[in-house]
Subunit: 97 residues, 4 copies
């Protein structure tokens, strides 16, 4: 079952500008070996459930080191027998336009 | 660090009425031993990150048994040195009204 | 079509404790005349789409007055021919437990 | 105040494959005149609050025509004195990597 997850995670005790914290999270995601894509409102990751959730936990642990309050949003779309959905879902919509 | 998580999870390949599937998930959450609260748009769970995430994975595995497509939303508010936030956050707002 | 909406809205430029801001929003929602319910991760509102969205905009305008950055999450479940879903959805799940 | 919004909206009464419905929504967004960007888990739109919310309502009305149940997620990040954040937020993170 392919798990396509969009992760948004940031501290809320560090003021309004949090891109240095987001960068630390994105670095972890890019080095995790799974397909991923950075967007303006979150980062998409594709893999098996356990793989993706292990990365999400790693991102949380990274911020937990020096942040006292963390907000996180996870949106997941999981589908059996599907793959390459990071690009495939967009293409499937584009084909119908 | 207290993790207060709101979980919304349902299949999208079983038609518009999914309460039997939601009930299976809520049963798992209620039996997990963590503080929880069922609402109209999701179920809140409070605990340590690893405890809460283990329950979320258990819920996903339950639906994965007979669902081909699953949608999930996770909203998490994690705070150091805080506890009893399932009731405490609402009370803190009510006190200011 | 009944729109059941869960609204989470808070400033991210006011530090980690934002309950005074959330209280201002909840006050607006409670005085709007629609069915509503305050939870630990958001406030649910039920009504017709235009009614609910007008309240959401009013909440945003309230925070916009003195906040420089605002984060918002809206989860909506809209269903034709349905009503009283603020309590009905929870009851429908409870009946199956 | 720039409103950067990620919209995810789909029917839950049309089976597991909903890209034809998503395409109708994306068509509306692309023709609305605001900056936008299609991603695997939602479409980002940037503009003033009222402009963006008018587009969101138009998308909802389009699906309401022939869908009996609609699920929607809206994630908004609103910031005073900011603009071009659809590309600017990603660039700001990339610069720190």
């Amino acid at each position: 079952m392919s798990a396509l997850v969009e992760l948004t995670i940031f501290p809320t005790d560090k003021g309004a500008s949090v891109s240095p914290y987001v960068a630390r999270v994105v670095k972890i995601i890019r080095e995790c070996g799974l397909a991923c894509s950075l967007g303006p409102m979150g980062t998409c990751i594709e893999g098996e459930w356990d793989e993706v959730m292990a990365v999400v936990t790693k991102c949380y642990r990274e911020l937990e080191r020096d942040c006292d309050r963390i907000y996180m949003l996870l949106k997941a779309d999981c589908r059996k027998g599907a793959e390459d959905r990071l690009t495939g879902k967009v293409r499937s919509v584009e084909d119908k336009l």
